[in-house]
């Protein structure tokens, strides 16, 4: 349990920050310089995974090592849902955080990774409170909304965070005797439902992810109650990654200051090309349960 507490504590130190997807050491350096509080090392950003198709897997350890040695901030990397051997490999590489991610092709349609078997912390995606608490029940130290990665469209991230907030309010205002019924209805562990009922929040840090492409998107998620943001394709698929990365970092800190947001949103060049959710061939958010 001590290891789990330390892992939840690391997530607390990332709060108010931006975690950026990077595909090489050079991008990692740009991200760190722009003020990222961590980087996510991967071979293809979600927009390319979406475009190119095929099975998306854990990155080459060589790439992860190169990125690790290029920056001093925490380095995260993704594994396929249920692929505990990919997670063992990342742990052996001394990675700081593992993302068990729906952006990669799931390896197990029935089970997520039993994260209690690992020393290294995990972050997992969720669309609602039940899903978040199931992942925490399996040992996740941090939660992020799933959103819809690689679309540059924030609508799904908003939907998931609003749903989470509504679920939490519902649990909080429920009577104590109804908690087991809620646990049954949300398919979530009773003890964790009870924690939410008592504290009015998740027992771990909750970030927003999936479709954030502009400083305004980041600030929107923060105003809706996210404790930080992940930006995937939104930075390095835009016209001026360096400038946009800096602006999103500023926007995540000054999310409540429209004048500052106006200043930093100016002249950023083109954002990544955005996709309509209803036209997508596959919805990554539906992967996992």
């Amino acid at each position: 349990m001590e290891r789990y507490e330390l892992n939840k504590d690391l997530a607390k130190m990332l709060k108010g920050g931006v975690i950026m997807d990077v595909t090489c050491a050079k991008e990692a350096e740009i991200a760190e310089k722009a003020g990222a509080c961590a980087v996510m090392a991967l071979e293809r950003v979600p927009a390319d995974i979406r475009k190119q198709g095929g099975v998306a897997r854990m990155s080459d350890p060589k790439l992860i090592k190169e990125i690790k040695s290029a920056v001093s901030i925490p380095v995260m990397a993704k594994v396929r849902i249920g692929h505990f051997v990919e997670a063992q490999i990342l742990e052996a590489l001394d990675i700081d955080f593992i993302d068990e991610s729906e952006v990669l092709t799931p390896a197990d349609e029935k089970y997520h990774i039993n994260k209690w078997n690992f020393k290294v912390p995990f972050v997992c995606g969720a669309r609602n409170l039940g899903e978040a608490l199931r992942r925490i029940g399996e040992g996740a130290s941090m939660i992020r909304t799933k959103g819809e990665a690689g679309t540059g469209n924030v609508v799904e991230a908003v939907r998931h965070l609003r749903q989470m907030n509504e679920d939490i309010k519902m649990v909080q205002s429920a009577s104590e005797e109804s908690l087991m019924t809620i646990s049954k209805e949300l398919n979530a562990p009773y003890e964790l439902i009870k924690y939410v009922w008592k504290n009015g929040k998740l027992p771990v840090v909750n970030f927003a992810a999936g479709g954030i492409a502009t400083p305004a998107d980041a600030a929107l998620m923060m105003q809706l109650g996210a404790e930080g943001v992940f930006v995937g394709s939104g930075i390095f698929k835009s016209q001026n990654p360096e400038k946009r990365a800096k602006a999103i970092v500023m926007a995540t800190t000054y999310y409540n200051e429209p004048k500052i947001l106006a200043e930093i949103s100016e002249d950023l060049g083109d954002a990544m090309f955005g996709l309509e959710i209803k036209n997508l061939e596959s919805n990554f958010a539906e992967r996992g349960w």
Binding site: M13, E32, D94
Partner: protein, 188 residues
């Protein structure tokens, strides 16, 4: 008395909650105007590169440095310690540069090497205190005016120089209020 917590990135609310438990008013410091309202400041844990960059971008670096140099009681935890150090062993960046210490970033290793320890820190309390180290730095060299408060594995993890207190570990992540109480006495 009003204590500010630098609120650019990192573990801010944990410090505010601890201060409130000690009946001390705490505010988030994000802008230059906030600096005028405070009697002491805590620089929290987080990523020193991120916070350092935002200090510059928000034009807070110079005024905050001047305030600390003129005696504002200041406490840096983890990343906060790195921001206050004059020298950083494994980084070319420098930030506030107000304390005569050389620090090493991520000195104990990556997240898998993060640890907890229970120790007595006589300067702060006679009871054992839980010390939480998250990808923590330590002080590899300290100037002659720096008083060493605590060592772990023979590494300096808490120290004080005049109005500046630094800790490698995170008292705000435990239930213990002794370190916050100690800092409040410095502000008084």
């Amino acid at each position: 008395m009003r204590v500010g917590v630098l609120s650019l990135q990192g573990g801010v609310i944990e410090h505010i909650n601890h201060l409130n438990k000690l009946n001390v008013e705490a505010i988030e410091v994000k802008k230059i105007d906030d600096l005028k309202k405070i009697d002491g400041i805590i620089l929290p844990g987080g990523e020193s590169t991120t916070i350092g960059k935002l200090l510059r971008d928000a034009n807070l670096l110079t005024p905050l440095k001047a305030l600390i140099q003129s005696g504002l009681p200041t406490w840096g935890t983890c990343a906060g310690m790195i921001l206050l150090a004059k020298e950083i062993e494994n980084d070319t960046r420098r930030h506030l540069e107000v304390m005569d210490i050389k620090v090493k970033r991520n000195a104990f290793g990556s997240q898998i090497d993060s640890f907890k320890k229970i120790d007595i820190v006589p300067e702060v309390s006679n009871n054992p205190i839980e010390l939480v180290f998250i990808r923590a730095p330590y002080i590899s060299e300290a100037g002659k005016d720096v008083r060493i408060i605590h060592k772990v594995e023979n590494k300096i993890v808490a120290a004080k120089q005049k109005n500046i207190l630094v800790t490698s570990f995170h008292p705000e992540l435990t239930d213990d209020l002794n370190f916050h109480n100690y800092f409040i006495k410095m502000v008084n």
